[in-house]
Amino acid sequence: MHHTIVTRVSIVLTTLCLCAAAAFAWLVSPGAVAQAEPTPTSTPVASDALFAKYCGGCHTQEEMLAVLRKSDDLAANAAEMQRFLERHGRSSAEEDAQIVAALREQAARK
């Protein structure tokens, strides 16, 4: 098979994948196109610094509070979040516990 045909197919496919990735990003984050930079957290909580350091780059506090409130069982939701942080983040177990405790406190208040 002509080697330039293979090269062209590879380029076309790579371009298609890039477009698919761009379309994915646009579709799952509507209205986020104007956001060029991650939004820093604004709601003051006891472990603001920890949250900003480990979570704030990708998540807002409102988003995490929404996850805690997804069902009435706040304890279970908090435990699930703790397990998520232990698998996902770069914080220590103690720091995970502080973050979850602070969020849980706020979620219980509102």
Binding site: M1, H3, S29, Q35, Y54, E62
Partner: protein
């Protein structure tokens, strides 16, 4: 089912498999509030990188049904180029995540949680894989060493990437997507097992024995082998096999070697292979293969054959050891009493580098064959063609009806790249040009 249709089906399946994880990530309820567009783009890049890498091995795992429509060398080329694409998507993933990361320790495979460490490991393993592939000659890596590094790094990339995606969760916390990602990894492992264990075990039951090992000049050896207690293999003229040498197929070194024999079998089902000394294996191992030595042949493979691409006539263009498939084609035509016109353009550095010259000369009286010899450094008394195979040379020697002929080209990669363009320039339709190259790594 025609080869073209099968090719389209296989390619479509490949594209769907690459994009499927992304499609599954998009379906269903959003997991959380909207995140920055650049972050989602980074995530998408990661999914695409994983899918491309997961199926890289499938492209070179010698799945005959998938390789037949394209030819092995096209799949090797596609494998290399999609490997680069996979690496680019991974770099995109990493670069776009950087502004969102807590620190540059995301590159440290010994720090952080499971997600961070596995991601860093996948990154460095892919970098090693890319560097050793692109720079194999410069790093002076032996082919067998490079193969081992390549396979190990690929396993590490795939495994680490899967652990990373599952540990991060988010979209991958959805069951359908988790299942697909794990299925991709299992498919990779299954193909690897088939390639490295099952296939060699099958080959072990089909041994071949060396009948003769002769120096035919031009640093080339002619190896004739015969099947031991099995009927041998049927092949098409111009095809190749993977020749495995060693104590057993499981641990054997394997190299692609074109079959020089006629595809019309002799009574003993002998097969002749012509092997030029290029490196450690061909220069040191092959000459030591004595009569009676055991070898294994995995094949046949390859699409450089007039049985697949018939024509009113043929133009065969060979450089150096690229004469081997042409010899098989001509021997087969002789044995089949095929009277279609053939022009053979055979290029070599100088006369001593040419092989099978006497036999090719003899074939001119048995076939409707015209041979054009081209020397890059000819002897002083040479009156024939010299230098490179250029468009001018082609115009001088191509027959009148050349646009209806089928073209087969085999030689050094640079020569084939050049000739593909030159043949198009003189007006040969692209669909009638068939090439095969084996630039491993």
């Amino acid at each position: 089912m025609g080869l073209l249709f099968r090719g389209i089906v296989w390619f479509s399946v490949y594209v769907l498999l690459v994009l499927l994880p992304l499609a599954l990530a998009m379906l269903g309820d959003p997991i959380a509030a909207a995140r920055p567009w650049s972050l989602e783009f980074a995530v998408a890049g990661g999914f695409i990188a994983y899918a491309i890498i997961a199926f890289e091995f499938a492209l070179v795992s010698r799945l005959r049904a998938a390789s037949e429509p394209f030819g092995t060398d096209s799949l090797l080329q596609f494998h290399a180029q999609m490997g680069v694409a996979g690496m680019l998507f991974l770099l995109l993933h990493v670069l776009l995540l950087l502004p969102h990361a807590a620190s540059a320790s995301m590159f440290n495979p010994f720090a952080g949680g499971v997600a961070a460490r596995s991601g860093a490991l996948a990154f460095w393993a892919l970098l090693i894989l890319g560097v050793t592939s692109a720079g194999r000659s410069r790093l002076r890596l032996r082919y067998e060493t490079w193969q081992w590094v390549h396979a190990s790094a690929a396993l590490l990339v795939g495994g680490s990437a899967l652990v990373h995606i599952l540990a991060v969760g988010h979209y991958a916390s959805r069951t359908a997507l988790r299942v697909i990602l794990i299925v991709y990894a299992l498919a990779f492992v299954a193909l690897l097992l088939r390639y490295r264990i099952i296939r060699p075990l099958r080959l072990a039951r089909l041994p071949w024995e060396v009948v003769s090992n002769t120096d035919v000049g031009g640093d080339t050896r002619s190896l004739v082998v015969r099947p031991v207690d099995h009927p041998g293999l049927r092949f098409q003229p111009g095809q190749f096999v993977w020749l495995a040498t060693g104590a057993r197929p499981l641990t054997a070194q394997q190299h692609p070697i074109t079959i020089a024999s006629s595809a019309e079998p002799d009574e003993a089902h002998h097969i002749e292979l012509a092997i030029k000394a290029f490196g450690d294996w061909s220069g040191n191992v092959v000459p030591q293969l004595h009569a009676g030595a055991r070898v294994w042949l995995d094949g046949p493979y390859g699409a450089l054959t007039p049985d697949r691409f018939p024509g009113q006539g043929f133009v065969l263009i060979a450089g150096g050891i690229g004469i081997t498939p042409m010899l098989s084609i001509l021997r087969t035509m002789r044995d089949r009493d095929d009277v279609r016109p053939v022009v053979l353009i055979y290029a070599a550095n100088r006369p001593e580098r040419m092989v099978f010259r006497d036999e090719l000369t003899a074939l001119q009286s048995e076939l409707n064959l015209r041979i054009v010899l081209v020397y890059e450094s000819p002897p002083p008394d040479w009156r024939g063609e010299q230098g490179l195979v250029t468009t001018e040379l082609l115009r001088r020697h191509l027959p009148k009806q050349y646009k209806r002929f089928q073209y087969f080209v085999c030689g050094p990669a640079q020569m084939m790249d050049l000739l593909e363009d030159e043949l198009l320039e003189v007006g040969v339709p692209a669909a009638q040009i068939c090439t095969e190259r084996f630039n491993m790594g």
